[in-house]
């Protein structure tokens, strides 16, 4: 890690840790904000969080590896969540996964070569009547068809170029 990114990381850490009381119950909130700010949770950050919140490192690591919302490796700019819940499964989540693979060349947990998209599987996004569902960042795309999926991805690709 370069010196510059190290100091930048420190600033972000200080800022995020400053938002919450320094106690164990702040753990998840702090990790969420860090994930948002850094796009992943690097070991240095987790170690700092552990000592700042008085939580054993083992527990911080447990929480960070438990929730799908957290990632210990850098994620692409956009997170594509494909729902593998029961309703979406019945409505053909496999086909959606194949379409995403065809479009982006990635499978569950992988990041596209251009660093733009990361794909993850999640269980039930909570809008089963729209199955099959995917979510890109915070936007939900339901009743997916191949055309709709392509449009959705294009929208995010465009976002980046503009």
């Amino acid at each position: 890690m370069s010196e510059q990114t190290a100091t930048c990381m420190d600033t972000i850490l200080d800022e995020v840790l400053g938002r919450y009381p320094a106690r164990p119950s702040s753990l998840i909130a702090v990790l969420q904000d860090l994930q948002e700010a850094l796009n992943f949770l690097p070991p240095v950050a987790l170690n700092r969080v552990a000592s700042a919140l008085h939580v054993p490192r083992s527990q911080v690591y447990h929480v960070a590896t438990f929730y799908k919302a957290f990632s210990l490796t850098p994620r692409g700019k956009h997170l594509v969540s494909i729902c593998r819940g029961t309703a979406c499964h019945v409505q053909g989540d496999e086909k959606v996964a194949d379409m995403l693979h065809a479009e982006l060349g990635i499978r569950d947990g992988e990041t596209s070569a251009d660093g733009e998209f990361t794909l993850q599987s999640v269980r039930c996004l909570g809008c089963c009547s729209l199955a099959p569902v995917i979510m890109i960042d915070r936007e939900v795309f339901g009743n997916l068809t191949a055309a709709a999926l392509r449009r959705a991805l294009a929208q995010y690709r465009d976002d980046m170029t503009s």
Partner: protein, 267 residues
């Protein structure tokens, strides 16, 4: 799930017999006192109960209703009727053992229990992750002993569901680990181990090595530096004896004492 918290003794029925639990005492503890056998895998009297293995299930009856509870956690209410073995309990324990045996077919403690419950070939296949027959059944004893007894919290979990494993943070050299081996000792399935090689204690599954100390008298490696530091925090020990192994400690103690008496004679 605690029964009464009034700080009073509780009288209830255990296998048809009137018994009394101390305030806050669990059914398992009462049963053990009275020599009633209940199988357990994730219980140890030195640490808090966790309720992971589900082998200690017993059935509680109130009137016509009943339910299964883990006896290592359940604190009885007055007039509970509790059975520690019957057809329903037997069936559930058998199922649990089938699952455990499918996951960890090489663990003697599990095989033995499985035999007791007539489980030979489990109906289940291990998941892809545990297909290499892990010995760890995630009973949490190592995690608890490290946190509650040793006070280090070096070990914890990573992942969830079928990918959940026991590990140190990031799976690499953990400074918190003092190499005491409490986790190795308490593990009911021998999933953890250590080896002393070249002046280091290697906690194998934890990918962590901790420097050893040689006994000042006989020169044998007998503990880790961090273990001795911890010991000193907790008990008062004459400085001269800290780096002496337990075997040499007796004679060394007399020698130190003699020396002290010679150099500082009593007035």
């Amino acid at each position: 799930m605690s029964g009464t918290t009034t700080g009073e003794k509780v009288t209830f029925t255990l296998n048809g017999r009137q018994v009394t639990a101390e305030p806050g005492e669990t059914v398992l503890s009462v049963a053990r006192r009275l020599d009633v056998h209940i199988p357990t895998l994730c219980f140890h009297e030195s640490v808090s109960s966790y309720g992971a293995c589900r082998l200690c299930l017993v059935e509680v009856f109130w009137g016509k209703r009943s339910k299964l509870v883990t006896s290592c956690l359940y604190i009885p209410y007055p007039d509970d009727r509790i059975e520690t073995d019957n057809a329903r309990i037997h069936g559930v324990r058998k199922l649990v053992l089938e699952l455990l045996l499918a996951r960890s077919p090489h663990v003697e403690a599990i095989r033995e229990l499985a035999r007791e419950y007539c489980v030979e070939v489990p109906r289940f296949r291990p998941s892809a992750v545990t297909a290499d027959a892990t010995r760890c059944v995630l009973c949490d004893l190592c995690v608890r002993v490290c946190a509650e007894v040793v006070g280090q919290s070096a070990i914890g979990y990573a992942g969830r569901g079928s990918e959940r494993v026991i590990t140190v943070p990031f799976g690499e050299q953990a400074e918190e680990c003092i190499g005491c081996g409490a986790c190795v000792f308490i593990c009911p399935t021998q999933a953890l181990s250590y080896e002393d090689i070249a002046g280091q204690r290697l906690m194998k599954e934890l990918n962590t090595s901790v420097p050893l100390v040689a006994c000042r008298v006989c020169g044998e490696h007998f503990a880790t530096e961090k273990q001795l530091a911890k010991l000193r925090e907790r008990i008062t020990m004459p400085d001269e004896l800290v780096d002496v192994c337990p075997r040499c400690r007796g004679t060394e103690f007399t020698r130190v004492l003699d020396e002290a008496l010679v150099t500082k004679p009593r007035v």
